[in-house]
């Protein structure tokens, strides 16, 4: 008892083949889309890899790029099969491969779904990478003379201006580290010596933030230094002041940015998976309707197309039986050779 049978005459078969061919071309473009999204994501990660300690995982974009390429290839082949399906001579050369091709498509669809799931789950490791990377970025802000880190200041400044954020968790991160290089501190000044002497690590700490934390929307010129000292500035209360510097932390800002990107990509991959399932089902109907022709010589004869040759349970038992047969194939072969050898010898 076949699953979901549909009767086909010649006209219906032609229409089905044309529709599925059309859908395959859409699927090729979807493959190109997935490939370019993977590429875009990879480039975005590379652009900011300095802020993530160069330790971010490129698993997801690489997987997307690979999936995109395989999608294009599979759908191009599927489209060719559909195109040839209406010509019996051309179709006969595809016939032996179709079973394996459809099985491969089903497996690939499962992989696509897995990729979509990964898009949503990879946010969690990214969160940890960002938190760690930004903490280090803030710590190395002052090292503009250390080879390998001399552009950290510029990168952090540009990031804070672009993403409208300040510090890793919030602007107070800048109070806990020394972000002015020792080259620009006058060690003979009393104020400098006091500050350095006032903490265990001998760091020049201050309640100030870099200029890139400033919010241009503030009605007054930016207050960067002595931020916790209300008396240092006229008409200033740091408890109620909200527009002066960006209040959001850069971890949160960057995570929102990358998280949004990954959510969009995940949603698109799910849509592409649905499209792939559609074309696989269509190809199965094309193949089964052509295989079940009542009279193979007459193209105008009626035929029946189905989704599965037997019911789901029977197909499942069939597959497990085949796998067992493949597993015991070696044993059967050995037994067969032994049985054949003695009769030949005797």
């Amino acid at each position: 008892m076949a699953l979901l049978t549909v009767k086909f005459d010649l006209k219906k078969r032609v229409k089905l083949a044309q529709t599925v061919w059309f859908m395959y071309w859409f699927a090729v473009m979807a493959g190109v889309l997935v490939f370019s999204m993977g590429l875009f994501f990879k480039i975005e990660l590379r652009k900011r890899s300095e802020l993530m300690d160069n330790s971010e995982s490129h698993l997801l974009p690489n997987l997307l790029i690979l999936m995109g390429l395989v999608l294009c290839a599979i759908n191009a082949v599927g489209g060719k099969i559909c195109y040839d399906s209406l010509d019996p001579s051309k179709f006969s050369k595809w016939k032996p491969l179709l079973g394996a091709f459809l099985g491969g498509c089903v497996a690939f669809n499962a992989l696509l779904l897995l990729t979509a799931l990964l898009c949503f789950l990879m946010r969690i490791p990214l969160q940890f990478t960002l938190a760690e990377g930004l903490r280090n970025a803030v710590r190395f802000y002052k090292d503009t003379d250390t080879p390998g880190r001399c552009y950290m200041k510029r990168t952090v400044d540009l990031m804070q201006m672009e993403f409208r954020c300040c510090g890793s968790r919030d602007f107070r991160d800048w109070f806990e580290i020394q972000w002015v290089s020792n080259r620009y501190l006058d060690f003979s000044a009393k104020e400098v010596k006091d500050r350095i002497g006032s903490n265990v690590d001998g760091q020049y700490l201050m309640d100030g933030v870099p200029f890139s934390c400033c919010n241009p929307s503030s009605p007054r010129p930016c207050i960067q230094f002595q931020m916790t000292n209300n008396t240092a500035h006229y008409s200033y209360d740091h408890y109620t002041e909200e527009l002066n510097v960006w209040r959001r932390g850069c971890s949160e800002a960057l995570l929102a940015y990358y998280g949004g990107m990954m959510n969009t990509i995940g949603a698109l991959v799910i849509l592409v998976t649905l499209l792939e399932v559609g074309v696989t089902v269509g190809l199965q109907y094309v193949q089964s309707s052509l295989a079940s022709l009542a009279n193979p010589e007459d193209p105008e004869s009626e035929s029946e197309g189905w989704l599965l040759e037997k019911s789901v349970r029977e197909t499942f038992t069939d597959i497990t039986a085949k796998m067992k047969a493949v597993g015991k194939g070696a044993k059967v072969e050995e037994g067969g050779e032994e049985a054949a050898a003695p009769p030949a010898a005797s």
């Binding site: 510029r154 870099p210 241009p216 007054r220 010129p221 960067q224």
Partner: protein, 341 residues
């Protein structure tokens, strides 16, 4: 003696028609490109109109939008004529309109030339508008509580950050205006009172710049205040310090941005003129070769196509003669009536 005659057989005519049809479609796409560039230019001017005192001229982008639409329509019509040219029945309905079409094409090319010239010449106007507009922007930077100007500070800060520039000519423009609102100045403070009294206008001037002038590429934290006082900062010399703040003025930065845009658009319009001329020449050859067919019933006969029916001099003389006839029709009519009566 026709100008540049070329012999055509059926195959050549078909090839010409097909090639010309493709060229017309390319021209339609170029027309769409001009239209979208016009819109882009208009949007960019609007975005920065606050920097130009809202007095910038929108003539060039409006013209580009109009010209883009006209180019699309014109070339779509030409493509249709090409497509129908190989079918004598369909072509017959287009025949009477062709003369006007060519005249219109010539006029359109002149309009395109004017637009291209404007693209290059209006840059002067943009430069002057920018100079004035930025001067006012810097002056109104502090007026964050004045309705209508409360976003000037934010716009100017974002512009300086985006275009990597400081001030109008250079950063010293900030020394000449008060850019801190009086609301944030403690007027009872001696230092403030000294500064305010030290100049004629009673302005709080200082040798400082806003934070948006800071250059992130500088190895040391940004020095915004006491810029001219080398002893106020450790290991700092104003004359040799180049990376601290942006040294370019915003007028120059914004002008080079708009000028690059206008030059590219002008070059594209000139390319369109050449494309249109090629289109019209091709169409002229096609239509004349179809009209000059020796045997209209037999499509396979040979024919000759040309650019102008007579030489350039004779064509101009004819055109002038026609113009004179239009201007002086009364005299010709009177002369004609007198002998009749």
């Amino acid at each position: 003696m026709p100008l540049m005659p070329v012999k055509f057989n059926l195959q050549k005519r078909v090839k010409l028609a097909q090639g010309l049809w493709m060229l017309y479609w390319v021209s339609v796409i170029v027309g769409i490109l001009i239209f979208s560039l016009g819109i882009f230019f208009k949007v960019e001017l609007r975005k920065r109109s606050e920097m130009m005192d809202n007095s910038e001229s929108h003539l060039v982008p409006n013209l580009l939008i109009l010209v883009g639409l006209l180019t699309c329509g014109f070339n779509a019509f030409g493509g249709k004529v090409c497509h129908d040219s190989l079918d004598p029945m369909k072509f017959a309905k287009w025949k009477p309109m062709l003369k006007q079409y060519f005249m219109a094409g010539l006029g359109f090319n002149v309009v395109l030339l004017v637009v291209a010239l404007l693209c290059f010449l209006m840059q002067f106007s943009v430069y002057l508008t920018l100079a004035d507009g930025l001067k006012y922007s810097i002056r109104f930077y502090k007026d964050t509580d004045t309705p209508g100007r409360c976003f000037m500070k934010r716009t100017l800060d974002m512009t300086q950050i985006e275009f990597r520039c400081c001030g109008n000519n250079n950063f010293r423009d900030w020394f000449e205006v008060q850019w801190i609102s009086n609301r944030y100045l403690d007027m009872s403070n001696d230092e403030v009172k000294d500064r305010v009294l030290s100049n004629v206008d009673g302005k709080y001037l200082m040798d400082s710049v806003p934070f948006s002038c800071c250059n992130p590429g500088s190895p040391r934290p940004c020095i915004q205040h006491h810029l001219t006082n080398s002893s106020a900062h450790y290991d700092y010399d104003l004359r040799s310090e180049e990376l601290n703040i942006w040294t370019r003025g915003c007028r120059e930065a914004l002008f080079s941005y708009f000028s690059y845009m206008m030059n590219s658009i002008g070059a594209l319009v000139i390319f369109t003129i050449l494309l249109e001329s090629a289109d019209m020449a091709g169409l002229k050859y096609l239509t004349t070769s179809l009209e000059a067919m020796a045997d209209p019933e037999n499509p396979e006969c040979e024919s000759e196509g040309w650019l102008l029916e007579k030489s350039v001099k004779e064509t101009i003389a004819e055109a002038l003669g026609k113009v004179k006839a239009l201007v002086k029709p009364n005299q010709v009519q009177e002369g004609g009536e007198a002998p009749a009566t």
